[in-house]
C-alpha cells in the first residue's frame, strides 16, 4: 500500500511539473484575453451563420487578398469554422497592434492547427524575420508563400529584403524585380517602398545611378512625401552618399 501511495505521489509530481505554465504561456494567454476584449469592444460576434463573412471583412480590405482568403475557406470549409475565424481575428488584432511576440506565439499555438494559409504565412513571416530575427524560419514560410501566391508582390519583396540582409545583392534585385512586376494599382505606399529599395540595390550592385534614379523617382511619384527617397534622390543626383534604409 505504502509503495503504491508513493508511486502515485511521484506520478502526480511529474505531471504537475510538465504542465506548469511558463512565463511565455502567461504572456500569450494575457494577449489572447486582450485581443478578445478588443474584439468584444468592436462588437464582433462570430456565429455559425457569419464566421466566413466576419473573417473576410476583418482580415483584409484588399480585393485580391479577399479572393485568396475566400478560396482558402472554400477549399477547407470542413476543417474551419467559428474557432478558426476567432483565431484569425485574434491574429489580426495582434498584427494591428504590432505585437510581434503574440503574433509568433499565436501562429505557433493556434494557426498551425488549421490547414496552412499562404496569406497568413505572408504576414507572420515578416514578423518572424524582422522582429523575431529568425531569418531561416521566415525564409521557409516565404518560399512556400511565393509558390502558393504567384501573383503577389509582398512575399517577393520580403524575400528580396532578406537577400539584401544576407548581403546577396543580385538575389535581392531578382526578387525586387519580381515584386515590381506584381504590384497592384492600389499598392501605392508599398509600391513606393519596393521601387525605392530596388533602386538602392541597383546602385549598390554595380553603381547603376541612372536606373537607381529612375526607381527612386517612381517611388516619389507613388508617394511624394517619402523622405528617405527624397534624400536618396538628392544623394544620387549629387555626390554619392549612402544612407541605410
Amino acid at each position: 500500500m505504502g509503495r503504491k501511495k508513493k508511486d502515485k505521489r511521484k506520478s502526480r509530481g511529474r505531471s504537475r511539473r510538465s504542465t506548469r505554465p511558463t512565463a511565455v504561456d502567461y504572456a500569450y494567454r494575457k494577449a489572447v484575453r486582450e485581443a478578445d476584449r478588443a474584439l468584444a469592444e468592436s462588437q464582433v460576434e462570430i456565429g455559425a451563420d457569419n464566421w466566413q463573412e466576419v473573417a473576410l471583412d476583418w482580415f483584409t480590405a484588399d480585393a485580391r487578398d479577399r479572393g485568396e482568403l475566400s478560396s482558402y475557406i472554400g477549399s477547407h470549409k470542413s476543417r474551419l469554422g467559428i474557432g478558426w475565424a476567432r483565431d484569425l481575428l485574434r491574429l489580426e488584432v495582434f498584427l494591428r497592434a504590432g505585437d510581434h511576440e503574440a503574433i509568433m506565439a499565436h501562429h505557433d499555438r493556434a494557426m498551425t492547427r488549421y490547414p496552412r494559409c499562404a496569406l497568413v504565412d505572408t504576414w507572420v513571416a515578416e514578423q518572424i524575420g524582422r522582429q523575431g530575427g529568425d531569418w531561416w524560419r521566415a525564409r521557409s514560410l516565404l518560399l512556400y508563400v511565393v509558390e502558393q501566391l504567384p501573383g503577389h508582390a509582398r512575399p517577393r519583396y520580403e524575400l528580396g529584403f532578406q537577400h539584401y540582409l544576407l548581403g546577396d545583392f543580385p538575389g535581392a534585385l531578382a526578387w525586387f524585380d519580381q515584386a515590381v512586376e506584381r504590384l497592384a494599382e492600389n499598392e501605392t505606399d508599398f509600391g513606393a517602398q519596393v521601387h525605392f529599395n530596388r533602386g538602392m540595390v541597383r546602385y549598390a550592385l554595380d553603381g547603376d545611378r541612372k536606373a537607381a534614379i529612375a526607381d527612386v523617382q517612381t517611388a516619389l511619384r507613388l508617394r511624394p512625401d517619402y523622405e528617405q527617397a527624397q534624400e536618396a534622390l538628392r544623394g544620387l543626383q549629387g555626390k554619392p552618399r549612402w544612407r541605410p534604409w
Binding site: H100, E101, L165, W242, P244
Partner: protein, 238 residues
C-alpha cells in the same frame, strides 16, 4: 615618476544578438591566425598549412594566450579537406557575415540544388558519377554563395586579414556609438537595423573606387593565393 607604463585600452562594443557577439570572438581568432608578421615571414595559419604541424604553428603564439583560445585556434588550423569545405558553415565569415543567424547544410539551398541536379543525371559508371560529385564540391567551394554575403566558401574558410580587422573594428565602433542604449522593440529589430547599417557601410565609396566589401574580398583572395603558394611549396621536394 615612471613613464611608459603599460597601457590597457578598454573597448566597449555592442552586438544585437548573443550569437553575433560570440561569433566576433571567432572572427578575431581568424584575423589572429592570418596576421603576417613581417616581410617574408609566415602567419600562424601559413606555418600550419606548410608544415602540417598545428602544434608548431601554435608554438608561435605568446605564452599568455589562454588554453581555450589555443583550442579554438587548433580547430581553425586543421588542414582543409580535399572535398567540400563544410567547415565554412562554422567559420565566422568575417564582418560581412557576423550578424547572419547561424545556418548550415540544412538551409543550404545552393548545395541542395547542385546535389539534386547530380542525382537526376545518369552517369555511365560509378567512377564517373563520383568524379562529377567531386567536381561539384569544388564548384561549390569556389562559387559566391548568397548566404555567405556573396563570398565563396573558400573565401570564408581562409578568414579575414589585417585590413578587414581594421574595417571590422571601424564598423563595430560605429554601431556602438550609434546604437548602444537605443531602445529596440525586439532583438530581431535590433538585428535588422544593424544589418541595414552594415550593408550600407560595406558599399560606402572609399579611395580609388574601393568599398569596404571590395577591400575585404580582395584581401581574402590575396590570403587564398598565399594559401595556395604555401601548399605548393610544401609539396615540392626540398
Amino acid at each position: 615618476m615612471v613613464e611608459d607604463q603599460p597601457i590597457v585600452e578598454l573597448q566597449q562594443l555592442w552586438f544585437p544578438t548573443r550569437a553575433s557577439g560570440e561569433r566576433s570572438f571567432l572572427m578575431n581568432l581568424e584575423f589572429g591566425v592570418n596576421q603576417i608578421p613581417k616581410g617574408d615571414e609566415l602567419s600562424v595559419a601559413e606555418v600550419a598549412w606548410s608544415t602540417g604541424d598545428v602544434e608548431e604553428a601554435l608554438s608561435m603564439l605568446p605564452a599568455i594566450v589562454p588554453t581555450e583560445t589555443r583550442g579554438r585556434m587548433k580547430q581553425l588550423l586543421q588542414p582543409w579537406p580535399t572535398g567540400r569545405y563544410t567547415d565554412a558553415y562554422h567559420r565566422s565569415g568575417g564582418i560581412l557575415n557576423l550578424f547572419t543567424p547561424s545556418w548550415d547544410e540544412a538551409q543550404d539551398e545552393v548545395w541542395a540544388e547542385m546535389v539534386a541536379g547530380w542525382e537526376a543525371t545518369t552517369y555511365p559508371d560509378d567512377e564517373t558519377r563520383q568524379e562529377a560529385l567531386n567536381e561539384l564540391e569544388q564548384q561549390w567551394n569556389a562559387s559566391p554563395h548568397p548566404f555567405f554575403s556573396g563570398l565563396t566558401p573558400a573565401q570564408v574558410m581562409v578568414g579575414g586579414g589585417a585590413r578587414e580587422q581594421v574595417l571590422a573594428t571601424e564598423f563595430l565602433e560605429r554601431i556602438a556609438g550609434m546604437l548602444d542604449g537605443r531602445p529596440f522593440r525586439s532583438e530581431g529589430e535590433a538585428l535588422t537595423h544593424v544589418v541595414l547599417v552594415l550593408r550600407a557601410w560595406e558599399c560606402e565609396p572609399r579611395r580609388r573606387g574601393m568599398t569596404p566589401r571590395k577591400i575585404i574580398v580582395a584581401e581574402r583572395d590575396m590570403l587564398l593565393a598565399r594559401h595556395a603558394r604555401v601548399l605548393e611549396g610544401a609539396t615540392q621536394p626540398a
